[in-house]
């Protein structure tokens, strides 16, 4: 067997694949952030908390209502989307005229409240959520045994990411959204209800986070704090990718998952910092990020 720096190539392939799984989460979350940022010019700090909420909804659906994974994969994003509508209508919409900083601070406050609520009801050690029947078991790929569920995560999230990308880049709705980011006033002058479009965009963005949350529930422990560490990494992903393009956020998310995976093999101690190191380097070379546009 061939080695690379003392690690068998086959093991390396396995690690790359696992990196891709994590990258799928980064991609989905940073995609949601990018969509929201594009339309609302708000960095949605609450993204991590809404992701957590998605996972919790999956668990609650099963626990209290007996709704299975597949139902919740649909329902949780809907519920969180409605919550997003409320957040946008009741709070965010008053902040657009102000400095963007206030949006960041408000959503930070929302994060604290949501985490606090879930923590006070469910504690922190977390709830257990089983992998759905259909996806249990693992497949032997030769170089590694890949649990079917992880394969599903990659497939599902890449599908969703590409779907969102296609929706935004290829449809009338997407065209309206893109136009709205370019020149919201003119779009409104054409009779399109831009405020409502903004609300729905926010709802859609956070629904993506909830979807990621449901996907994560069977892999991770469902707990109140599951989003708060992730969100900062996703921020770094966003800074590295540059807030410009939808495709950029997807690619950067996947790419960083893989880089992180490789770090876990060669220098595991640095695996939690590598994203930030990459960020520092990218900022030095390209202050606007890899796919971002200057100013």
């Amino acid at each position: 067997m061939t080695d690379l720096f003392g690690i068998p190539i086959s093991a390396l392939l396995g690690q790359l694949l696992l990196g891709l799984v994590n990258g799928s989460f980064y991609a989905m979350l940073s995609l949601g952030l990018a969509v929201i940022f594009g339309m609302l010019n708000i960095i949605n700090f609450a993204h991590g908390a809404l992701y957590m909420m998605g996972a919790f909804l999956a668990w609650m659906g099963l626990e209290y209502l007996g709704l299975n994974y597949w139902m919740m994969l649909l329902l949780a994003p809907l519920v969180v989307g409605v919550l997003g509508i409320l957040i946008e209508r009741l709070m965010l919409q008053w902040l657009y005229k102000l400095d963007h900083i206030y949006g960041l601070l408000l959503t930070f406050g929302i994060t604290l409240v949501m985490e606090g609520v879930f923590r006070s009801f469910y504690g922190v050690s977390g709830q257990q959520y089983q992998v759905p029947e259909a996806l249990q078991g693992a497949t032997n790929l030769g170089f590694m045994v890949l649990p079917n569920y992880r394969a599903w995560v990659v497939v599902a999230s890449i599908t969703v990411c590409l779907g969102v990308w296609a929706l935004i880049e290829k449809t009338t709705l997407g065209a309206t959204l893109r136009a709205g980011t370019e020149n919201p006033k003119l779009v409104q002058a054409f009779g399109i209800n831009v405020p409502r479009m903004i609300t729905l965009t926010y709802a859609g963005g956070v629904a993506l986070a909830a979807f990621a949350g449901v996907l994560a529930a069977p892999i991770l422990q469902v707990s109140a704090l599951m989003g708060s560490n992730l969100i900062i990494v996703v921020f770094a992903v966003v800074v590295i990718g540059g807030m410009g393009s939808i495709l950029g956020s997807i690619l950067t998310g996947l790419g960083l998952g893989i880089i992180e995976g490789l770090t876990k093999v060669f220098y595991p101690e640095a695996s939690s910092t590598v994203v930030f190191v990459v960020m520092a380097i990218v900022l030095l070379v390209r202050p606007a990020g890899l796919f971002g546009k200057e100013k």
């Binding site: 093991a11 396995g14 690690q15 696992l18 990196g19 799984v21 994590n22 923590r119 006070s120 504690g123 922190v124 050690s125 977390g126 709830q127 257990q128 992998v131 693992a138 590694m144 045994v145 649990p147 569920y149 992880r150 892999i219 991770l220 422990q221 707990s223 704090l225 599951m226 560490n229 992730l230 995976g261 876990k264 093999v265 595991p268 101690e269 695996s271 939690s272």
Partner: protein, 379 residues
């Protein structure tokens, strides 16, 4: 002569964060049970309990402790989970001369490098856990080990303590991988562990990390080829993971609710109130409070030095443990248990999770006086 005419116990623990289930509100309830069992009086005076959440922040814990002693006249402190918080509290208790009974924190430093005349490390420590799990599992045939270690001081000491024991009992450490604290994904580390072909996977981490690692180990089928040994786990972790996931795992603890009739009896009372079975820490909270209150009751004073003397002189003998507190360094010495998680089929009732595999005598479990790094121990 009881200061302030009340015997005031201060309990500081994690009530809202990762360790809240293991101790937290249940710990408060356990101490209240002890007070109730004393009829609310010790040495002829009223007993009072105040408690606070340190949110796993050492600074909050220490400030609370200091403030309580300075302004509330607290006579004794019970420290819940989190070693950092407890080390900080130990400093304050020693400075202010108050008995400090550590229950939930595992760091062996509390009775080694950082020992004080006022610290009593009552329930367990990482050395005991390492000795229990490390030696018992190795003796039981798990000769080759691989460690999955949280990358910070505590994880490193758990690993090195256990590795030493494994080596002594004829086992072999094949390797280890460090993971960041609160890692969100363990699959990559587990793949590396699997690559080592070791028989035992030692989990030198805690809380959420342990839980997530076990989940992933199941998912990747690693539990089929390796035995899992949790180096710092409690019954609540098993409860939240479920037996299906944890079946066959080894862990060491100071107590299990189903280990004896008296333990069962107390646990039922606890269950009435909390709707869950007690962890070893909650039982220890009760036991420690009781031990202290009985000492105060016996000598009719809450003077710190005298009460500590009395506590160290009196053997502990209750449903929790039979043992004593070592005079020199304040280490509580009692038996520990190597437990194995039952399979779902073996479990006959809720919370029936463990088989007791071995009883480890206290003298073998805890650091020997000869090996102690406590400056108070004269060699």
């Amino acid at each position: 002569q009881i200061s302030g005419d009340t015997v005031k116990i201060g309990f500081i623990t994690d009530m809202s964060s990762v360790y809240a289930d293991i101790d937290g509100a249940g710990g408060v309830e356990a101490i209240k049970m002890a007070i109730a069992d004393m009829k609310g009086m010790a040495g002829g005076k009223k007993i009072e309990l105040i408690f606070a959440d340190h949110q796993n922040k050492a600074d909050v814990a220490a400030s609370k402790a200091r403030e309580w002693i300075d302004t509330q006249g607290v006579d004794m402190l019970i420290g819940g989970t989190n070693s950092g918080a407890n080390l900080a509290m130990a400093k304050i208790a020693a400075e202010k001369k108050r008995p400090f009974m550590v229950i939930g924190a595992g760091s062996a430093r509390l009775t080694n490098e950082d020992c004080t005349p006022y610290t009593i490390h009552y329930a367990y420590d990482t050395v005991a856990l390492a000795n229990g799990t490390g030696s018992a599992v190795t003796k039981g045939g798990g000769k080759s080990w691989f460690f999955l270690t949280a990358d910070y001081a505590f994880g490193a000491s758990l690993q090195s303590d256990t590795a030493t024991v494994v080596g002594k009992t004829g086992g072999q450490v094949l390797g280890s991988v460090k993971h960041p604290l609160n890692a969100n994904d363990f699959s990559s580390f587990l793949l590396q562990a699997q690559g080592s072909k070791a028989q035992v996977l030692g989990l030198a981490n805690a809380g959420g990390d342990t839980i997530n690692a076990i989940k992933a180990a199941n998912e990747f089928g690693i539990t089929k080829t390796m035995k899992l040994a949790g180096l710092l786990m409690f019954i609540n972790d098993i409860h939240s993971l479920g037996l299906k996931t944890t079946e066959g795992m080894y862990l060491t603890d100071s107590w299990y609710w189903n280990q004896s009739p008296e333990a069962r009896e107390w646990s039922r009372r606890f269950f009435e109130k909390m709707k869950r079975m007690p962890s070893s820490l909650q039982a220890a909270d009760y036991s420690a409070a009781m031990h202290y209150l009985k000492a105060v009751d016996a000598i009719k004073t809450d003077d710190a030095d005298k009460v500590i003397g009395k506590m160290k002189d009196t053997p502990i003998n209750d449903f929790y443990v039979k043992g004593s507190i070592r005079k020199e360094d304040g280490r509580g010495i009692h038996d520990m248990f190597l437990l194995q998680v039952k399979s779902p089929k073996e479990s006959t009732e809720p919370w029936d999770y463990f088989k007791v595999v071995t009883r480890i005598p206290g003298d073998d479990a805890f650091t020997k006086l000869a090996d102690s790094k406590c400056p108070l121990v004269k060699k």
